[in-house]
């Protein structure tokens, strides 16, 4: 590791205050040449604030930044670009309807006549050069909207390369990548590092941090609490620093015995063109059924179809022993199904509505006497689940967008529990959620299943998580069902093997 390497970027004693929170408190961090420096912490620990200061989106209240031992002032993203700092954000900011080359060279497109006529051939050449530098081939003339997420991410890297970035910031780069794509990304990062570049790497996936990082800084509540070396640290130690206490390791699920339990959901030969083919499985009462598969496996499309968001081409769905057709989500909800979608912000939350309303929106009609919503009952129901699920919110009328990711997810969970659902479909329920909240959500699910006999269909890209929480696991790949295993007998490798077989 590069203790001897030069420090390329140094942040000293940075403070940042937002209304209501001290987001950063006396944080110092040094990035060495040729190193991958991981920054970890729970949501709200200050990672994003710190990175936003480095790329000039916000300014620190106090503190200094040095680039190659010279103090610099980064007051906007263009300053950062001039200093050779680029970012690959979590939410990619590309222009979908423009071409690859335009996106890479956005803001510095070559011109024949300055500011007037674009020089397309030079642009195409330059874009191809940058992509070659990364070692990826993408057609410079392709339209970005037609690319995969992984390819779009590479464009984002290419954009940083195009202005000669020596420092790259990756914010949760793997959260929507498949395993293979992740490996590829790691290869790119390693090459970049070998050519003298430095990387700030932010991720919730601690395993991958141990794999890729040369140095780990842990933030908690805006303070730097530890700097660890990946060779000598462990997941446990990282988590302890992040949370500030030991998190109980949830034991693996005990074997589930379906004997004497009813089948609540039975899917037979369900098919929808271009999405999934001939999927059949059964979900028992009180069971957690894992559903895994790489990106593009059709798992999200499958559950959306079961929930009535789309209509199947053929095949049947039985609920509670009776054949059912869900034409709309409304039908499914009446049939006591619930769906927590993958994209929480886009499909789950009503960001500018209150916590109470977000929790009670599907049951408003039930809470209504004559024509008026019974606000008292509405509040008390919400309050009950706020304490039950330990949702941390300053008040019931708080806008849900102001809550942390973990608490937002609990609000959505509460929303469905309030409907009295019996079949709970969870699509990546713990993505982008900190370790502690994740453990809590797992705990909640276990209790629901054990005490109330709710059945859960659990989708996650994190195989380890599925192995831990599920009883049985079904594996999908490119729209086909590949197999079914008992969770307590399977390993990650086996699941992958089944998927790819």
């Amino acid at each position: 590791m590069g203790e001897t390497n030069r420090i390329t970027l140094e942040i000293q004693n940075v403070y940042k205050h937002f209304p209501g929170v001290q987001a950063l408190k006396d944080v110092s961090i040094a990035l060495h040449e040729g190193e991958v420096h991981a920054v970890v912490g729970e949501n709200g620990a200050g990672k994003s604030t710190l990175m936003n200061i480095i790329i000039g989106l916000i300014q620190a209240d106090r503190g200094k930044i040095f680039k190659n031992n010279k103090e610099v002032f980064i007051s906007n993203p263009i300053d950062a670009q001039r200093l050779g700092i680029g970012i690959v954000p979590q939410e990619l900011n590309l222009v979908p309807l423009l071409t690859v080359m335009e996106n890479i060279l956005l803001g510095m497109m070559p011109c024949r006549v300055k500011g007037m006529i674009l020089d397309w051939s030079t642009m195409s050449k330059r874009a191809a050069q940058v992509l070659e530098q990364i070692g990826e081939y993408i057609d410079p003339k392709a339209v970005v909207a037609n690319l995969s997420t992984a390819q779009q991410q590479i464009l984002q890297i290419a954009r940083a390369f195009s202005f000669g970035a020596q420092i790259l910031i990756f914010d949760e780069p793997t959260s929507s990548l498949s395993l293979k794509e992740t490996e590829n990304l790691f290869k790119i990062i390693k090459n970049f590092k070998e050519s003298g570049g430095s990387v700030f790497y932010i991720s919730h996936r601690l395993e991958e941090i141990l794999e890729i990082a040369d140095r780990i800084t842990v933030l908690r509540d805006g303070c730097k609490v530890a700097e660890l070396a990946p060779e000598s640290t462990s997941l446990r130690e990282m988590i302890r620093h992040m949370v500030g206490k030991e998190v109980e390791e949830v034991s693996r699920t005990i074997r589930f015995d379906p004997k004497g339990r009813g089948v609540v959901l039975k899917v037979e030969n369900l098919t929808r063109a271009y999405e999934f083919r001939k999927i059949s499985f059964e979900l028992f009462e009180g069971e957690i059924l894992g559903l895994v598969g790489l990106v593009g496996s059709g798992r999200t499309e499958l559950v959306k179809c079961i929930f009535g968001d789309t209509v199947p081409d053929s095949g049947t769905v039985h609920t509670y022993g009776k054949e059912t057709v869900h034409r709309t989500p409304e039908d499914a909800i009446q049939n006591r199904l619930a769906y927590v979608p993958e994209e929480r912000r886009k499909l789950g939350l009503f960001p500018i509505m209150s916590v109470v309303e977000n929790m009670t929106i599907p049951i408003l009609k039930r809470l209504t006497s004559f024509i008026r919503i019974d606000k008292k009952q509405q509040t008390s129901k919400a309050q009950e689940f706020i304490s039950k699920l330990d949702i941390r919110t300053p008040s019931l009328s708080q806008r849900v967008q102001n809550l942390s990711g973990g608490n937002q997810q609990k609000v959505i969970l509460a929303r469905w529990l309030l409907t009295g659902c019996r079949i709970l479909i969870l699509d990546e329920p713990t993505r982008g959620i900190d370790v502690n909240a994740k453990a809590e959500i797992h705990q909640i699910l276990r209790e629901l299943v054990a005490k109330e006999g709710i059945s859960v269909l659990f989708i996650s890209s994190e195989l380890q998580e599925v192995l831990k929480i599920a009883n049985r696991i079904i594996v999908m790949h490119e729209g086909d069902m590949k197999g079914e295993v008992l969770a307590d007998q399977a390993t990650q490798e086996e699941l992958l093997q089944i998927a790819l077989s």
Binding site: P329, Q334, P341, L347, F350, E357, L364, I373, P394, R415
Partner: protein
């Protein structure tokens, strides 16, 4: 929860925020300031006669703007309101003049026509998936064309005298159109705040995709707001017929811009999910007072649109700044 002191601090902070966040407060303060300025600048402003004129004038636009607010709350827009008012008022007056149907029944029939025509826009937008801007713009053109086809540009006269009451009558000291406006405002305020239908409207504007996934009948509700908007446009148009004693082919088009601006400066966002009918009413009154002020201060009428446009830009800027601050 730990730390009581902290809680109290937070409590006082939320109270402060609530006042600032109370969307109507900004436009209300602006209205009061504008009225004060006008009362000082001219002694013609604060007279019962003038106030009566202003408030009656405002009520037409306000009734249209109330429907517009519902549409805006779902994240849509209804650009056909003006021509809708024109067409329905013409059809209503024709019925009054050429049949023996009671003019008040004709009013209701005209409103039903508005409801129906509005549902067509709603259907195109919610079910077929047309962009609201284009769909209502096009429908508005159709309505405007039909008005000319029917009237050839001539006013329809011979409205029964007993129909005067709706547009010209008074209940005590208050003009009838103003009462109608207030009643609708009260109903809408209640519906939006206390009924599932109202909350679902906000939910759709806040996140349409999520709304569907929580079982809200998105298509039906979206259709309904355009239908309601059409109905209220028709009502405003027909009240105006009563006011003018004639069906004018020119009624309406001039109401479109103020119906949107009243809602926007009253705190409704174009992206949907945020806003109140109370804000819209205050916004409509503000616009009315502003127009009145321009007349009273002998500013050339040509400047009116310039000033109104500038006010809207200012209002939206203030809104953006306010959102950023908190």
């Amino acid at each position: 929860m730990p730390m009581n002191e902290n809680n109290m601090q937070r409590e006082s902070l939320t109270v402060m925020r609530k006042i600032l966040h109370f969307k109507e407060s900004g436009i209300l303060i602006a209205l009061i300031l504008l009225s004060l300025t006008l009362s000082v600048a001219t002694n013609k402003f604060l007279t019962p006669y003038n106030i009566g004129i202003v408030i009656r004038q405002v009520s037409f636009v306000a009734i249209v703007a109330l429907g517009q607010t519902l549409v805006l709350l779902t994240g849509g827009i209804d650009l056909s309101v003006g021509n809708m008012a024109g067409l329905c008022s013409i059809l209503g007056s024709l019925m009054m003049v050429s049949t023996r149907i009671d003019p008040y029944v004709c009013t209701i029939l005209a409103m039903l026509i508005g409801l129906m025509l509005g549902s067509i826009s709603g259907f195109l937008i919610a079910r077929v998936g047309l962009n609201a801007f284009i769909a209502t713009l096009a429908m508005g053109e159709v309505f405007a064309g039909l008005v000319l086809v029917i009237t050839k540009g001539y006013p329809i006269t011979g409205i029964p005298p007993k129909f005067k009451f709706l547009g010209q009558g008074m209940l005590g000291l208050v003009p009838v159109p103003v009462i109608i406006m207030l009643v609708i405002t009260a109903i809408f305020a209640y519906v939006l705040k206390y009924t599932p239908y109202g909350r679902h409207i906000y939910a759709i504007g806040g996140n349409e995709l999520a709304s569907r996934l929580v079982g809200i009948r998105v298509i039906r509700i979206k259709m309904s707001v355009y239908a309601i908007s059409g109905m209220l446009s028709a009502l405003a148009g027909i009240i105006f017929v009563s006011r003018m004693n004639a069906g004018q082919p020119t009624i309406g088009p001039s109401w479109l811009m103020p119906s949107v601006t009243a809602a926007i400066i009253g705190g409704t966002t174009l992206s949907g999910g945020e806003g109140t009918v109370l804000g819209t009413i205050i916004g409509a009154i503000f616009m009315g007072v502003l127009a009145n002020g321009i007349v009273l201060l002998d500013i050339s009428a040509y400047w009116e649109r310039v000033i109104i446009g500038a006010v809207v830009v200012a209002a939206v800027i203030i809104d953006i700044v306010r959102v950023r601050r908190f």
